[in-house]
Amino acid sequence: MEKSGEIRITPELLDHLCELAKLRLTEDEKKAFLRDLNRILEYFSIIDEVEVGDVEPAFHVLGLSNVMREDEVSGERLTRDEALANAPHEEEGYIKAPRMV
């Protein structure tokens, strides 16, 4: 779905994006962001000047393909201590996360 015309980030859209990105902003931040983000978007709209048509998007600039490895186990594994060393909360070898329900 392509949108045309001026795009603005509204307070509702900002809230939605914060939810998508899991970012909690203070009220002051929200005010400032609405201003700054829209200014930046306005700058981005410069790309509207260019007709891109059917150009192949450059997913990889150098056009590499088929990079694969053999199915062999090797020694990069971490010990459990290494895996958990940075975890703020752990229990019996599991990493603790907040409740999901």
Partner: protein, 483 residues
Amino acid sequence: MDVLSLSARQIAELVSSGALCPTDVVEAYLERAKRLNPKINAFITIAEEHARRSAEELERSLKKGFRGKLAGVPIAVKDVISTKGIETTCASKILKGYTPPYDATVIRRLKAEGAIVIGKTNMDEFAMGSSTELSAFGPTRNPWSLDRVAGGSSGGSGAAVAARMAPVALGSDTGGSIRCPAAFCNVVGLKPTYGAVSRYGLISYACSLEQIGPMTIGVEDCALLMEVISGRDGFDSTMIEYKFKWSPGDVRGLRVAVPKEFFGEGTDERVAERVWDVIKLLESRGATYEEVSIPLARYSLACYYIIAMSEASSNLARYDGVRYGMSCDLSLPWHEAFSKVRGEGFGTEVKRRIILGCFALSAGYYGRYYLKALKLRAMIRDQVLSILKRFDAIATPTTPFPPFRIGERVEDPLSLYMADVDTVIANLVGIPALSVPAGFVDGLPVGAQFMANYCREDLLLSIAKCVQDETAFHLKVPSEVRP
């Protein structure tokens, strides 16, 4: 012999021959770093214990016959690169305390040649910035003028080398983050060809744009580092088959393109003059130049930021306080816990970019922003490559202005983004690009940028060598720093 004025190559030779002891080298640089850091804030972490232990180990290995291209060379590493056992923060509160259990490939390779990591350098948080003011640990001050920025996002690495707190450093470059601080700090900075240096261990900001690269005083050290760190490693799928080699050559017959779009409005005239001096210098040494036009260059900044922010919004999703870093609040339901820790742990610019990146990728906007930017990228690439069919190198200023004052641009994101306007194009195309000291404006360093075709770092180094041989810019030491 003043250890602090030796090049990396000289240190390695002297250490290998036994004329210099690794511990002496390390102690000299540690002392310098510790003394100057409060003023400059180049380092987030000075890894004293680790450095001393490494020096001792190296001494033992040398006795057993070990030889390395970088034996005993202290290296300052941008804090965006994983170093096993040394805290790695990306200058962010959200990663404070994170100690990687593994080394980045580049670190492993440097260590294998006997190099010694002496510290992790300051940067803009998650490499998002052009001045190293956006760090959770305070700005880095330019050794050439302490009230000015060191450039970003690898400002700490640039300042560390400029102030001789380390003979060489590693930075990372997503949109100019090696070249800008190199220019501002009067050092050489190379962004290699995309895919030439492994990104395994480089904490991601924008995967399809970034590369790790060397920041050094002299060109030979730049080549030496590049030799050690480059080449496929079996961990980074985006790497090309490329064996870097360089032997100093002259610039006779070199054809240089000078795109007018990079010298127009917005470029400080004095900066332009310094760069033209360098171009004329090359001409006097046998190169030729011609003015060209890259019409699509005017869209490169917007194109770059759309792509970078989109990738960043995804790359930074993993920071949720569960597996490492700042802890999330387990007493809250999960989505609140994540939002809270990310809201508090990330700085403002990082949050801005994540939100814009989410926006550019979101349903309804993907086609207009992200996908379009990728198509535009292809067009810009093709236009630049067509220039490089007729020319060996492209010459531009590294940045449109000399180092600005701390605080001058930081409140206005767009104004900060402008610092990248000359550098992002190389990241978009994936070609190698280098900044070499090109003189001073009001005592502030200025850099000249050269770009070449894929895997032609050798041309860039030869150009830089010519400039260094003919000028003495790189040999100046900032007065702030002289003992």
